[in-house]
Structure formats: structure tokens, C-alpha cells
């Protein structure tokens, strides 16, 4: 085994990285083209720089289409693969609460050890489940706003559209804040600054894995030994 293989372990598959990449690009495009619509007086210049609202509208809808396809893929894939239920790595558990308590104790000096995470800490779970909960709201309201005539024809009075528009925009702002939190956690945090390459290469150094996700690291090493 090479030295490099001794030092790195796989954290994300190519499939997961591809999904994340599409999500990241689409979300950033959606924020960039959606915010000028929400705040045209303050941020309208962003749309003008991109070629005007006619252009940003098209980009917004293309990115929305990508998110819609991605959400569908993700949902179907995890049903087929049963990834959510096999290892239960991403499912929130009582241990997340104890990890938060352990971390808080660590911060204020009551403990010398921070929480020992499995594959995903409560921060990653918050990012993921935030997206799982809020994306469907954005997708449904987004499709209604895209084709209001469709929604009005089948299931909604026309004068409910302002409420739908409000939900879509405010949910998007919340999602934007969640992305900023995510960016801090994975890139701007002093431990990873300036960039964390794990989601790009799929690999994490053993040193970092042991430090950040010790229980997962121990399990990976145990599996290696058993092989």
C-alpha cells in the first residue's frame, strides 16, 4: 500500500460529489438571480450586470430545473439504495444532542474533550436536513410562480399568489443563510481555511478524520483490519 493510501480515506463517493456540485452551482445561481427580484431597488444592478431581468429569469429557471431534477434523483436514489436507513449515519439521533452539550462544555472549559462524532456531526446533519425540509417548499412554490396559470387552473385561487411569492422568497433567504453557515463550517472555519478539499476529491486525511470524526474513523479502521 502506498504512503498516500495510508494517509487518506474515502469520505464521499463520486455520485455524492456530483450531486453536491450540481446543488452548489444551482443554489448560487438561484441566489444571484433571485435576490435582485426580491430586492429590485437595492440589488437590481446584479440583474442588470448579468444582462437584465430577462436573462436572470431564464438562468433562475434553468437552475431551478437542475435542483428539481437533483431532488428527484436524490429521493429516488436513496429509496433504491436505502442509504438513509442502512447505516443511519445521516439520521438525527440523541447522540447529536449529547455532542452539542459536550461541545458547549468544551467551549466554556468544563471539559477537555469535545464531542466525538460519527460520520456526520450535528452541523452536517443540520445542513442536510435543512435542505431536505426547505427544498420541497422552494420547489413547489417555484413551480407555481413559474406557471401560475397551471396552479390557478388546477388547485389554487389566483389571489393566493402573493402568499406563495412571499413564502418562496423568504424561504430562499433562510436557505441562503443556511448556505452561509455551511460555508463557514466547511471552508472559513480556522481548521479548514482557506478551502476544504474533501467534497472535491472525496478524500479526507486520516489525521483530520481522526480529529473531526473519531467514531467514524475508528469504524473505518476496524473494517480495514477485518478485510
Amino acid at each position: 500500500m502506498s504512503d498516500l493510501a495510508d494517509k487518506y480515506i474515502e469520505r464521499f463517493t463520486l455520485n455524492q460529489r456530483l450531486q453536491h456540485g450540481i446543488n452548489a452551482v444551482a443554489c448560487l445561481s438561484l441566489f444571484l438571480t433571485g435576490l435582485p427580484v426580491k430586492f429590485p431597488d437595492q440589488l437590481g444592478y446584479i440583474a442588470i450586470m448579468m444582462g437584465g431581468f430577462n436573462v436572470t429569469t431564464v438562468i433562475h429557471r434553468m437552475a431551478g430545473t437542475a435542483i428539481l431534477a437533483l431532488a428527484m434523483f436524490h429521493f429516488l436514489y436513496y429509496i433504491i439504495d436505502r442509504g438513509w436507513f442502512k447505516d443511519k449515519e445521516i439520521i438525527p439521533s440523541p447522540k447529536d444532542v449529547t455532542d452539542v452539550i459536550e461541545d458547549t462544555k468544551f467551549i466554556i472549559g468544563l471539559s477537555d474533550e469535545k464531542g466525538r462524532y460519527r460520520k456526520y456531526s450535528y452541523r452536517e446533519k443540520l445542513d442536510y436536513w435543512g435542505a431536505v425540509i426547505f427544498f420541497p417548499i422552494l420547489i413547489v412554490t417555484g413551480v407555481i410562480l413559474w406557471h401560475p396559470a397551471f396552479a390557478v387552473h388546477y388547485f389554487m385561487p389566483a389571489d393566493y399568489l402573493p402568499a406563495v411569492r412571499l413564502i418562496h422568497s423568504m424561504d430562499a433567504i433562510l436557505a441562503g443563510m443556511a448556505v452561509m453557515l455551511h460555508m463557514y463550517n466547511v471552508h472559513l472555519s480556522p481548521r479548514f481555511f482557506p478551502v476544504n478539499w474533501t467534497m472535491f476529491t472525496g478524500m479526507i486525511s486520516e489525521e483530520m478524520a481522526e480529529e473531526e470524526f473519531p467514531l467514524w474513523y475508528e469504524r473505518v479502521k476496524r473494517n480495514q483490519r477485518e478485510e
Partner: protein, 131 residues
């Protein structure tokens, strides 16, 4: 830089067990992934084309124009009878609920601060700084 499939690296991590993919081999998994991607893209794109075909041009929402509604503020719309009472109630409930959700934003700030403090504390521990 790092070839997962090279002989050297085989077996250094129980990849399938890690990702919960014990039941499928890599090839089956790749095929399912590709087929599923194609399926999802086709479904979504054809649905969008169907919407355009059935209902015509998409709403020019950047101009804040919706069927039967003008660009007037919500209160004016209600007063002029363009919004029903139930639509007004729906709007205000939506506003209240979403503003409640946006209270989550300070929670994010607290989480960032929490994480920053953790790094700071870890640094103190590593460097052995004492107060």
C-alpha cells in the same frame, strides 16, 4: 492524484460498507445512477415543456405581474377588492410563519459563533495557553 481503483489502494477502506451499499456491486450501482439521472432529467424537462405547451409563456414574475393582480401593495389590492378575504388571511399567515422561520437566522449566527469558539478553545488546548 489519487486513484481509488489502483491495486495499491484496493481494500484500504471498506467503501461499500461505509456507504451502506453492501447489496449492490459497483457496476450495478453505476448503472442505476446513470439510468436514474437520465430518467429524472427527462421527466423534469418534459414536464416543463408540457407546462409551456399547455399554459403558454411562463409568468414574467420579475415584473410582479400575476393573473388578475396588479403591482399594487397587498393592502391596496385588498381594499380595491382584487384580493379575497381568505387570500389576505393566507398572505398574513404566510408572512407571520415565514418571519417566524427567519428567526432561525440568529440561530445560524449562534452556531457559527459556537463553532468559532470551539476552534479557539481547541487552539488554546493545543498551544497550552492558560488564563
Amino acid at each position: 492524484m489519487f486513484d481509488l481503483n489502483s491495486e495499491d489502494n484496493k481494500g484500504y477502506v471498506n467503501k461499500h460498507a461505509e456507504m451502506g451499499e453492501k447489496d449492490m456491486n459497483q457496476k450495478q450501482q453505476d448503472i442505476i445512477t446513470i439510468v436514474l439521472w437520465i430518467f429524472c432529467i427527462v421527466i423534469v424537462v418534459s414536464s416543463i415543456f408540457a407546462l409551456y405547451a399547455t399554459f403558454g409563456t411562463a409568468a414574467p414574475y420579475h415584473k410582479k405581474i400575476f393573473p388578475g393582480l396588479s403591482t399594487e401593495p397587498i393592502e391596496t389590492l385588498a381594499e380595491s377588492g382584487q384580493l379575497s378575504q381568505s387570500a389576505m388571511v393566507a398572505f398574513h399567515y404566510a408572512e407571520m410563519f415565514m418571519e417566524l422561520l427567519d428567526l432561525g437566522i440568529p440561530v445560524f449566527a449562534i452556531l457559527v459563533f459556537h463553532h468559532l469558539l470551539m476552534n479557539f478553545r481547541a487552539l488554546i488546548k493545543e498551544k497550552g495557553v492558560k488564563f
